[in-house]
Subunit: 115 residues, 2 copies
């Protein structure tokens, strides 16, 4: 037990239906944004591909992105605080998109994100 | 032993330096051609991608093509008769690109390719 903990343990935090709606939309928007960025990079890579080996570099890039996004976009309420913190710090999400999520959760998200 | 065999066992076939040069070029050209076709398909897929799931369909497509080409383009002289036969039958190679390869080998390639 951490004597300095001022928030409820993250696993114990309950999400209301209204918060879940906000969270679901924010999550979806961030995911769509990151996928758009991957798509844009992919277009550039394919446009400049000249040698067969470039094709497999594109494949390597997509494999890496798929692994990263699969790991990152984990929509479980028990880890959502960390997920949103990461998305904020990486710029895939803006704080105002989380409007409607309770202040205690937002404090924890900001603290984890250090933004 | 097959009583009807009229050719030397494929594993015993020797390739002259001149034949190796023809084979190497034919192999390289077929590979380049197939990779160009994959690249063209990839461009179409990326141009019409709209949902995030389309990205991973592209990744699945590339994974499949990479596995298939890795398996198909096997430049070992012990299997090259079969490789060329397959490339001819799939249209990645034309018979005239094998000009310079000995008649016994060409018979075996044609027989395997059934072209």
């Amino acid at each position: 037990m951490c004597a300095n903990r001022i928030y409820a343990p993250i696993h114990d935090i309950k999400w209301s239906d209204a918060e879940k709606l906000v969270a679901r939309n924010a999550f979806k928007n961030a995911y769509g944004r990151e996928c758009k960025a991957i798509q844009a990079k992919l277009k550039k890579m394919i446009a400049t591909a000249s040698a067969p080996s470039n094709l497999w570099e594109i494949h390597d890039y997509l494999s890496e992105q798929r692994n990263q996004t699969d790991e990152k976009y984990d929509y479980r309420y028990s880890v959502l605080i960390f997920v949103f913190a990461r998305l904020l710090s990486e710029g895939w999400l803006q704080k105002n998109e989380l409007k409607g999520i309770g202040e205690e959760k937002m404090k924890q998200i900001r603290m984890e994100a250090s933004v």
